[in-house]
Point group: C3
Chain length 189, copies 3
């Protein structure tokens, strides 16, 4: 009777370990798809077009042989590289108080349709958030939603990893667009 | 006798924990170098040279002062930035049915020899794979094999991390090259 | 008495598990902010200015409409893209024996003040270190210290993640600067 109880105690301890997924290898089993942090932001991109220097937050810096640096190129802007420093807001209003800056670049990378590749950071320095979130990934911008990677973070977002879902919230000609970004972090330290 | 058994039960539970490496710090101990997923792909890059627009999958978008956007620059192409949207195939045949697109950019970043830096994604949208894998890293392309980082993923490759080994499988003049990519993921969710 | 002891054994096992943070979700609890590796390096950037080709380690490859590829542009260099292959040294002397190369790019991304975005690798091939460390992040270079992300690594730095703190150690006109980089890895495999 005694040893039976002791065996069941050990058995329960082992079960607990198994359920909690505490195994070193393979790592497949220890991951949760439940975000440890969720945030929604908007950012606003105004591309320099030769006339709007004061308001512009982005500028063309690379172009294919058939392009230039004031007008996005033919063939779905294939080959245009754009550098940006865009205000981040909590709602979809360009004139809302910015809570940070989205800084980095995007490249249009396909001849046949609009699609882009993004490398950028959200930089925060307010009472709400201090630190940065770094992003990279493909942005097939004709899709309603696109997922890119959160590849790291600093400050309040120290060592973060996750997925950000991007939606084009507004698109006005070839000068202004607004993106909504739903950030889900799955690694929080 | 009773308590001896109970102590040994506890002792076993502790041993289990130690063996499974479930310690928060240092993290060195909990990592496995056994991949949780392995894949091999090829991708094909045809650089625009002023005459091959229809077939081109890549184009020069940045150049040093001594360069232009239709011919790769002198001095080992130092300073050339190339944007690409290359077909991914399962074998080394350019004409095999593409299973996805490799999209992003590379920069030639050294005067003295050929070497590059890569930022790109594999974008899949087929029955076999949906989602993206994001890569970044140095590509010293005169080496037979080069390792870059898998910095994140989405969809089927949600939150992936790993190492990709790149080999130049073919190199024809300055217009076409084909890379073989052996992807090993060590974080799978 | 017997069952009381057995319950306390089980209770201790559960406590152990809780303390060790072996829970799959949320992941917040299992992280240590104690680095598993720390390193300090310097790297040296000499930008090509039309006259210093031999010594130059970096060159302008992208510019806004108001810029060119031999002089950094007005408006805080907004829109300049620079590609580099800089020597890494263990101290702040440009002429110390290099221990590796810092290779990649930076972009100046703001009109109003100097700030940049970095994507690059440290590439080592010596007896001390073999492999690469990959970095990405915002570099608000007027701040005394700036944190960027270590987004991956290969070789000796297989699968690394961490935070690198950058300091401008010297800045001479618009041709030479030297950065000190304090690398702290929090994921070591």
């Amino acid at each position: 009777m005694r040893s039976k109880h002791q065996i069941s105690t050990l058995f329960l301890a082992i079960l607990l370990l198994l359920n909690l997924g505490c195994f070193a290898s393979p790592r497949k089993s220890i991951r949760s798809r439940h975000p440890c942090k969720e945030m929604v932001f908007y950012f606003h991109d105004i591309i320099y077009n030769g006339k709007n220097f004061k308001n512009a937050t982005a500028t063309i810096v690379g172009a294919p042989a058939w392009g230039n640096h004031t007008i996005l190129a033919n063939n779905n802007h294939f080959g245009n590289v754009v550098v940006f420093d865009d205000p981040i807001t909590l709602d979809n209003n360009l004139h809302s108080p910015p809570v940070g800056r989205a800084q980095g670049f995007y490249i249009y990378d396909k001849k046949e349709i609009f699609t882009a590749w993004l490398g950028f950071s959200f930089v925060f320095n307010s009472t709400a958030h201090k630190g940065s979130i770094n992003f990279a990934g493909a942005d097939p911008l004709m899709n309603k939603t696109r997922d890119i990677s959160v590849i790291g973070g600093t400050g309040d977002f120290f060592m973060s990893r996750g997925v950000a879902t991007i939606m084009t919230d507004s698109f006005e000609g070839e000068v202004y667009f607004r993106l909504r970004v739903d950030i889900k972090l799955y690694e929080c330290w």
